[in-house]
Symmetry: C2
Subunit: 378 residues, 2 copies
């Protein structure tokens, strides 16, 4: 699952301090307080859950887009049209995080009345981790779903060029003593960031991760980075067409349904060549509309009991997990001990702090313990 | 994609004649006309699309359940509770096909008013191809989604026992000149039937399809049939936990949300040891609630143009396909030429015809042509 190891030689920063700093920085870009707070909340949630690729490490790219005038940090989503359970918002090219928070809250509110509701957003931007919006609904006792299209990095089965995004699917639900189930997955086998990690580590790649520019299976990170990711399932013989199908369905429910850009027509999410015009899908389902209160979460808890106590395959690296478990454990630890950031990430944020005159909060050096888990000290 | 080759040495039967025969046979089991018509419609749609595993070949198993009194062929679904966009039906242990047709029609009707609606069904039975219900919505210009839980055949990542079903995801939408996009996929890498085919052909299995009873990767069909299917993605290194997560989400939206049986607690779908008590999820989304009429299908058509014209990988077995394309092409051919059924399937149906005194319709022997495609002659 996409939780990265604690960085080696990095530092920790307290979540609350990083939250306040991030919001202040985003305000300096021209975002009103409440918009900046949404952006900060979602970026820090990502850092806490160990998804460093979608957290504050992205700030330089948001800054670049705002400075270039390619996105509008002050824009507010506008409800365009809809019916009692299906709404369309124009994000007006503002922060995807803020538009998403407004859109999922709108769906939650309508679902309280109708049992379920969907908000669709067009003209949006990168929105961080898809799971946050689904979790927002799960915190209210609902099932939440969040989808977004992204710029083309994935080759459909049989194609040798990238035509679809890693188009993630996120679903969250309340799960009793387990807190929440949170599935938050790209519909490619692995995210592009995992290939960058493989490049740094000098690893070769398993079949099913990526193809090279000539369309054959990529065995090295260099070939993969010059080629395309493969959809979940990998090769046609191992049902990669299902991952391709899932990616297409996400595209259909986001870019196509919303009237945003779609598929190969999406400009790179962090390119200043033009606006992203992403489409996003947010849904809330209220189990209590058709169940006794709490019965859904109790049953889900029972199922997770059964799954996580299963006998294991030989050489299993650990017990059966439920979706979101490693991320939730990481978040609990980092809320207490501080968020671990690697040296490069730290340097980047300090540079932004200096540039915008927002002093970066206190950090502590990570001391790596024998267990391999980092712990912080001053 | 799960379209099987035309059988060798089989026969063809006209779709309309098989439809009437199937409905009459189901009536003999005690189903009222309209219920029998729904069952027949959905079984023949499956046969037409080349999904022989979910069509009339299943009739002996439905007959067995009805004769044993384990399911009630005359039962009608009852709307239990709900709100304006979320309804819960009790299928009252009747045919899953009929409950599903009623439930998706209810969702389509409510979505016309609200923009989107969901029907949840509990106390249901096997419902044939998941895609039919999604296509029902797409025929009305809507996006349709259909999910069901199934009896445990899949081992979660790291587990060596079957705890979840192949829990399919079906999504359909209108696609202009392409007719419809229809994704209809098990969340396992392959269906169990594919392993039975491999056994008949004496094939070895790729990594990622199944594990043996000891939990290690199954290389022979015998090991796989004694073990468990693997979730889409296969091994943990190729993101099998994503397929596991998808299967769990389907379980959550069907068995758990509806209050039906779930996960390892589901009795085999065709076992007479007890009722299946399946949960099913049906959803309709009306694109016209937030779009100009027809705009959604026009954009989806454009995307499919872009996908299917892509340059190909080396040794591609054909062009890039869109989900549902092979099945739609097969259905068009079989509507014209008759439905191909293999000798075993034919014998089974003739036996039922004799037993219930419903003469089986005229068939024609298949003559295999040089192209490998069967054509029928008297």
């Amino acid at each position: 699952m996409p939780v990265y190891d604690d960085p080696v030689g990095g530092r920790t920063v307290q979540a609350e301090a990083l939250l306040v700093w991030t919001s202040t920085l985003v305000q300096r870009l021209g975002a009103p307080d409440d918009i900046a707070d949404d952006v900060a909340e979602i970026l820090i949630a990502s850092d806490l859950r160990g998804i460093a690729s979608h957290g504050t490490a992205r700030l330089p790219q948001y800054v670049k887009l705002a400075e270039a005038g390619v996105m509008n940090p002050a824009a507010r989503p506008r409800l365009e049209r809809g019916k009692s359970s299906l709404s369309l918002f124009d994000a007006q090219n503002g922060f995807g995080h803020h538009a998403g928070r407004v859109a999922i809250d709108h769906a939650i509110q309508l679902a309280t009345e109708a049992g379920t509701a969907i908000s669709i957003v067009r003209n949006s931007n990168h929105y961080g981790i898809a799971g946050w919006y689904a979790m927002r609904a799960a915190e209210k006792g609902m099932i939440g779903i969040s989808l977004t299209n992204t710029s083309p990095l994935v080759a459909p089965t049989r194609a040798r060029v990238s035509l679809l995004g890693t188009n993630p699917i996120a679903v969250a639900a309340p799960a009793g003593k387990y807190g929440m189930v949170v599935l938050d997955m790209a519909t490619s086998t692995i995210p592009r960031g995992r290939i960058e990690v493989a490049a740094r580590r000098g690893e070769t790649l398993p079949v099913g991760w990526a193809i090279g520019p000539d369309g054959s299976s990529a065995t090295t990170p260099a070939e993969a980075l010059a080629g395309s990711l493969q959809p979940l399932g990998g090769e046609e013989s191992t049902a990669g067409y299902k991952g391709y199908g899932l990616s297409l369905i996400v595209e259909m429910l986001t870019g196509i349904l919303s009237g945003a850009a779609f598929g190969p027509n999406i400009i790179g999410l962090f390119s200043t060549a033009g606006k992203s015009d992403l489409g996003q899908f947010y849904m809330a389902i209220d189990p209590d509309a058709i169940n006794d209160s709490g019965a859904f979460a109790a049953r889900l808890e029972t199922l997770i009991d059964q799954l996580t106590r299963a006998p294991l395959i030989p050489n299993a690296p650990g017990p059966v997990l439920y979706p979101g478990q490693p991320e939730a454990e990481r978040a609990g630890r980092q809320k207490r001990d501080g968020i671990a950031i690697d040296p490069e990430h730290h340097t980047t944020l300090v540079a932004l702090a200096d540039k915008y005159g927002v002093p970066f909060p206190e950090t502590r050096a990570i001391e790596t313990t024998a267990s391999g888990h980092g712990s912080a000290r001053a």
